[in-house]
Symmetry: C2
């Protein structure tokens, strides 16, 4: 979609129409898809400078100065828009709570925004700096070419802004601020109160969030939680995501001789730790990728109604297989959507001795596997971790959480060091909950189509502390393009998604609750 | 044993006694243990400068200039001692053949010496340079303290020379040259001809040796082969080793998604290559370390007579377990000596994704195992490698020697890349062979005790090309201390072993054949 002077003018005309609605009137007709589209177009344009500005502030949560600069910027941005802001102190980075009450509102929506970004390796970015946003479009050969920022005045949906956090997740922060401005200019207000909770440590796994939520239960009290984060379904159609898997991690180490030994002298004598680890790992799953640890899938039932909802997601699995170059897939579920309704047990890293040009002819001293377990609502993390631990023990290993000393090594045939971290649990909200119905209605009005409904995303976001501690349902409203290079060099945000993100948020903010 | 002026004087007196033996006389009584001991003591002293000199020449075979310097030095050293020298050209480093005929001799002994050393990391050596030999003794706390070279004049058996190749294997080269000098000074000659073949690429796996032996079969013709290399039995008593395992290596790679994927989005869907590798490796051996690949141990029979010989080796397995901190051992054989009579299949390295502080929450793109197979005489390397390959195939993998392209990945449920290198085969000489009897007699005379006889060492040396191509038996005569840090930083040679090595070689050179 080209933004031309003509559409801008027609946008202004329609904005005038919107102005004629009485503010806060619930009787007045709600702005329709066309009106919201025009308004989004206008405020995408007017907020590009704000988007550039927020993306220009480095935001590596490992750097306290970065955190502070972003806290200050967001404090100011929300204060300007009539919010009361309050820092919630933690052992490390603070959280920021911004609150705006609306006259006559009796419900409160808590909105989660993530401000920090993954660390950057500037040498791998094709621009001056990951913190100097670059506007790019594809050239005739399909490569991204940088173009002057002035070109944004007549932008094309397919143009993209390249910068760290463009999509994950400062883009959505800019969309939300732009939506607030658009509403204010129309003299419109939501009919619910807003609390915005901002996280400056999401990419570190939000280590201080659960404690802060527990300690500030009353301050954060709300009726529901919306998360503006993540990419839309791969079709790039409006999407609602009702849950996310949680995550726990295990580090598992097996032992051979106390220091590596010559494999000629000790092959067939000193036990090989890589073999022991391989045998342990192999015993945990079958050749189709199903976990064989007894009890791992207990309590999970995908009923027919749920299967229907999963089937309704327009995935193109042949395309996934082609893109990932897979000759087969794991058989945990009958489809991609079904697979991610189950907890996973994934070997994310494994090492023993050396390979390739560093290879040495040794019996290694140890072997280590890094495992991540993606959790679903039915899988209590402590229970799953204990099942895996008991399984290791049942394979004849003495299990410890320490590096074994000589006495421990010699007292047991096999020793394994097993440590774990339970990061956060899954959450999952019913499709037919109040928040589900409300958001579905908002998106239907904004886009004149039913949103794609994802029961649960495979990845993990630190939302369960809100859900479990505050006792409120949560739904994620993703807006950005899926091919955004999230966490990687050359992260980007498609401008069509930026505008549609504003349209999405306008739909929600104007939807009566 | 302290070398004092008194022992030196008595040594000279005994040397005079030796001089009274008629050169080359077979009727004259052979020098006894005491005489050989005194002579070895004298020539250990007089050859220390030569030992320092040879250890001062860098000898990393990856560096052609190093190779050339060592070839030149050894050419000169052997020419000075009456040998004809001849370079045998190969595609890379030459071999050097040094020949000395002795009047009346009708047999020829081929002697294998290794000149090159493992690469060095000087930062990990506790001395100025790995190529600047340092004399050290233990201080009161048991740490090695460097002492002036002048201290060697009154050396102690427990002092050590620290330098790359001190033990592996320039120490034995210096011992051999010193032995030749000792004999010449006594006007004694062996009653056999000597061919010395020098290898400058042993630490690279002697890639050019097999071809050179084949091409120079007549030049190298001899009745038997002696290898002056390796450490004595751990008791440090006189040792003869009648064989060594061979070695072949396999690199095995399994595949997941073509590039690593987010483990949240694709855990339970994209197959995990580390799991696939673990399952493959686990299927190759049982939990006691025995290879379960069908046919792997075919043809190997350890009869009662052999078992008796194996039992006669004074191993202290409790001590090995204590030193390696092993709570259990593999159950391939009933003892250490029995275990190394079998081929081994050892995972020397394994990797997939990242561990520790580099860990990423991904489904990795690939997983790799580096495997070494130690071979025994009964195990044809090609046969064993094919058994392993067929086993991988039988686990449902399409086996290729290439990195699979997209079409190959998508055409098969599972793909494994399997490449191998067949370095060299095992050799094993009968205890009751001529060379066995002859060497046993020489060592019995030199030390007044029966040498420890090792049927086969676990490690590999490139001797099978001589044995198989020249059709001659081979025996290794090890001399150095076992705790010499071979291949590692701070390699060293115990001076008591240096002197006893000369005594060993004097025993052999004076033993009638």
């Amino acid at each position: 979609m080209k933004a031309s002077l003509r559409t801008l003018v027609s946008g202004l005309l329609l904005a005038t129409t919107l102005l004629s609605l009485e503010a806060k009137s619930v009787e007045a007709p709600l702005p329709d898809a066309h009106a919201l589209g025009v308004l989004a177009e206008q405020y995408a344009h007017s907020s590009f400078p704000l988007l550039r500005e927020i993306l220009s502030i480095p935001n590596d949560a490992n750097n306290p100065a970065d955190v502070e600069a972003n806290v200050v910027w967001t404090e100011s941005a929300f204060a300007k828009r009539g919010f009361d802001t309050q820092r919630i102190a933690t052992a490390e980075a603070p959280l920021l709570l911004a609150t705006r009450q609306h006259a006559g509102a009796d419900k409160t929506v808590l909105i989660y925004l993530q401000i920090d970004g993954q660390p950057v390796d500037p040498s791998r970015w094709f621009q001056a700096s990951p913190y100097t946003p670059a506007l790019k479009q594809r050239d005739a050969t399909g490569d991204w070419e940088q173009i002057p920022w002035s070109a944004i005045e007549d932008y094309d949906d397919e143009m993209r802004v390249f910068a760290r956090s463009a999509s994950d997740a400062k883009g959505p922060v800019a969309m939300f601020l732009a939506s607030l401005d658009a509403l204010a200019a129309q003299n419109l207000e939501p009919n619910f109160n807003i609390k915005v909770i901002m996280d400056y440590e999401e990419e570190l796994g939000s280590p201080n969030l659960p404690g802060a939520v527990t300690e500030n239960r009353e301050l954060l009290a709300a009726d529901m939680l919306i998360i503006f984060d993540g990419p839309r379904h791969i079709t790039n159609r409006p999407t609602l995501t009702f849950g996310a898997r949680g995550i726990a991690t295990i580090t598992l180490t097996t032992y051979g001789p106390v220091v590596p030994q010559h494999s000629g002298h000790f092959g067939n004598y000193a036990p090989n730790p890589a073999l022991r680890l391989a045998q342990l790992l192999a015993s945990m799953k079958d050749s189709d990728g199903r976990v064989t640890v007894p009890g791992f899938y207990d309590g999970i039932r995908i009923d027919d109604a749920t299967k229907e909802i999963l089937r309704a997601v327009p995935d193109n699995e042949e395309d996934i297989k082609d893109r990932l170059q897979l000759g087969s897939i794991d058989k945990v579920g009958k489809s991609y959507q079904e697979a991610i309704q189950y907890p996973s047990l994934n070997i994310r890293g494994m090492q023993s001795g050396w390979i390739d040009d560093k290879v040495r002819t040794i019996v290694p001293g140890w072997a280590r596997a890094e495992i991540d377990i993606r959790l679903v609502l039915e899988s209590d993390p402590e229970r799953l971790i204990n099942l895996v631990k008991q399984h290791v023990s049942a394979q004849g290993f003495y299990v410890t959480d320490q590096t074994p000393d000589k006495a421990m090594r010699m007292a047991h045939e096999k020793v394994a060091t097993f440590t774990y971290e339970n990061s956060y649990q899954s959450f999952r909200t019913d499709f037919d909950s109040d928040v589900g119905r409300w958001l579905r209605s908002a998106l239907q009005r904004a886009f004149e189509e039913d949103p794609i409904q994802i029961r649960m995303s495979g990845g993990s976001i630190p939302i369960s502390p809100f859900v479990n501690t505050l006792g409120i349902p949560a739904v994620t409203v993703p807006t950005v393009n899926r091919d955004n290079n999230q966490h990687s060099p050359n992260e980007n945000l498609r401008l069509g998604n930026y505008r549609d993100g504003i349209r999405t948020m306008l739909g929600i903010l104007t939807e009566p609750l």
